[in-house]
Symmetry: none
Subunit: 138 residues, 2 copies
DNA sequence: TTGATTTTCACCCAAACGGGTGAAGACAAT
DNA sequence: ATTGTCTTCACCCGTTTGGGTGAAAATCAA
């Protein structure tokens, strides 16, 4: 998960350099500045949306007093844990989660235990409620 | 929801006009174009993030086809069933629901059975997910 | 008052779940 | 290379839940 942040950071840097280069080569013709500006604006608008989608935070969810102690987001869960959590929130029992993910029921139980620990809950229904509260799942 | 889109659309339009105006007044000094470009890029980056945050859809819950056949609301449940359903959605186990409502665990089970039947589900987590999907509980 | 609905509770049994421990292989980071 | 994390799986045990049946009060409408 740390790796992902680095990757996107590098990607962003490359993108910025590209734009900078384009700027320098275009600066000789000050005629179509407006068009160019619009292009840059559009590109960065899309980029902003993209970044927001990727680096999405839990956003502190409206008027509910968010647990100040446990502010979690997707990054605090491993990929597999997020898989399990997704199925869990849709009401799948352990066996079906196991089938869907192609792993054993025991493995699902292990992931669930870790999920419960991270969320500070003691059963699947609380986990589902908490996950939705923290906007970890849609 | 429609209203919100219109509002943000109008806001975006106003913003674009403002930027356009600023562009026309600045175009006389082609010196600090780079700086100006950077500003526009930054602004639209932030704007993109903002838009993505605000116009973010509830995601329509993945790929589950919503039951067209069973459109239930609160009226289809008895008062006591709604009580149980509420605690259920908060992740309470049967025993605690029983304590909170001052009834026996067996009675809670009976209510749950009826709830499952009405929602067309087979366990409490599915019931919680369905109840939220149907907006029976907040 | 009669009948329908709701609410309450009991018993039984099988399945699912939660908690603990242990451990193996993969893979990235230091 | 060693550490750490992730992922996978197994075993045991007790608790919880789900499903079925039955039934007694209370409430409410016809």
């Amino acid at each position: 998960m740390t790796m992902m942040i680095v990757r996107y950071g590098a990607l962003l840097a490359v993108f910025l350099i590209a734009v900078e280069t384009a700027t320098r080569s275009y600066i000789s013709q000050p005629n179509d500045i407006e068009l160019y500006l619009g292009g840059v604006a559009a590109i960065f608008l899309v980029l902003g949306i993209f970044v927001a989608q990727k680096v999405k935070k839990p956003a502190a969810a409206d008027g509910n007093t968010p647990d100040q102690l446990s502010v979690l987001d997707r990054a605090d869960f491993s990929d597999r844990e997020l898989d399990v959590l997704l199925f869990l929130c849709h009401g799948y029992p352990n066996n079906e989660i196991a089938d869907q993910l192609g792993i054993s029921g025991n493995t699902v139980k292990t992931h669930l235990k870790n999920i419960y620990g991270k969320l500070g809950v003691s059963n699947r229904t609380q986990a589902a409620a908490e996950a939705k509260l923290l906007k970890i799942v849609g």
